[in-house]
Amino acid sequence: MAGTVIGAGLTIEGDISGEEEIVINGILRGRLTTTDAVTVGGSAVVGADITGASLSVAGQVTGDVTATERVDIQAGGKLVGDIKAARFTIADGASFKGNVDMEV
């Protein structure tokens, strides 16, 4: 089980930082920093800059993303912001707007 779960219906306004996996199904406004994986669920709305090992987006994300490993935008996911990651995939049906930097 993930270390931190922000359930649907929950809203966090502020910063989240940690050293474990973070799953977001609710609403986050602020900043998100972790050394582990970040998962943005289908019902999530995130307005935050995200830093982590990897990022998987199935919901909506607005903000810049920095990942040491990879970023994946799932079908139905939406990401607006600049991405800096070694590996980056956009699934069919996902939407993305921003700059990509894969020179990590």
Partner: protein, 257 residues
């Protein structure tokens, strides 16, 4: 929808958390928390901020106020610095709490004093129809406690009722401050017996009451001190101020050196 959210042991949230569902805090939160479900703060959990939930279980550390719409439970090892309010509050042995604890819903506590004025004015107009100005009702309402007890033993009805009447003249100055605190404590006991006692006694005293103001001129000096005595016991004692302020000793020592 009511999914349980978890703030993991290695996670720090600095900001407000609010919404529906339950929340389990194993890490650190610096900010206010307000959720509709239950909140559990684990042994390693730390919260700096006010927490509001339906059921609140604390085994970790909280610096802030706790409010539970159902209950607040402090488990062994919990450390809470802040006020606690909930219909049910449980503090287990081994838990540490510092702050004000209220085991009653706040709205109910506020409603009680508000209800009292309604009970009070009713008997008064019957007892003293003509004499009462608008300010009056509170004054006699507070008094009856000592009166009924004293009456049967000491048969001085003329002197007793005189006090309320005389008090009647200056009260506008004295009263506005005390009525609220005075009114609240006797409320639950006082109202039921008073109406009968009062109306009976009033009728008997009524003729004596009328002349009282005229004769009270000389007597007022004697009874004047009675008035200030009454509000006193109900007021909380003045705060104890430390004679020596923190650090003065150190300063003295330093100055000696």
């Amino acid at each position: 929808m009511a999914e349980t959210s978890v703030i993991g042991a290695g996670t720090v949230v600095s900001g407000h958390i609010r919404g529906e569902g339950s929340l389990e805090i194993l890490g650190r939160v610096e900010g206010d928390i307000s959720v509709t479900g239950s909140v559990a703060i684990g042994p390693a959990g730390r919260v700096r901020g006010n927490v509001s939930a339906s059921q609140l279980t604390v085994a970790g550390q909280v610096q802030g106020d706790l409010h539970g719409s159902l209950a607040v439970l402090l488990e062994p090892g919990a450390r809470v610095a802040g006020d606690i309010s909930a219909p049910r509050v449980g503090i287990a042995p081994g838990a540490l709490a510092r702050g004000h604890v209220q085991t009653d819903a706040e709205p109910a506590a506020l409603a009680r004093p508000a209800a009292q004025p309604f009970v009070r004015p009713a008997p008064q107009p019957v007892a003293r129809p003509a004499q009462q100005p608008a300010v009056r009702p509170q004054q006699p309402a507070v008094r009856p406690d000592p009166q009924p007890a004293a009456r049967p033993a000491v048969p001085q009805p003329a002197a007793r009722p005189a006090a309320p009447l005389r008090a009647n003249v200056p009260p506008p100055k004295a009263e506005p401050i005390p009525p609220a605190p005075l009114a609240s404590p006797p409320a639950p006991k006082a109202p039921p017996p008073r109406p009968e006692l009062r109306s009976d006694l009033r009728k008997a005293d009524a003729p004596k009451l009328a002349p009282a103001p005229a004769t009270s001129g000389p007597g007022s000096g004697e009874f004047a001190p009675v008035r200030p005595l009454k509000p006193e016991p109900r007021r909380p004692p003045p705060p104890v101020v430390p004679v020596i302020r923190k650090g003065t000793k150190a300063k003295k020592k330093k100055s000696h050196d």
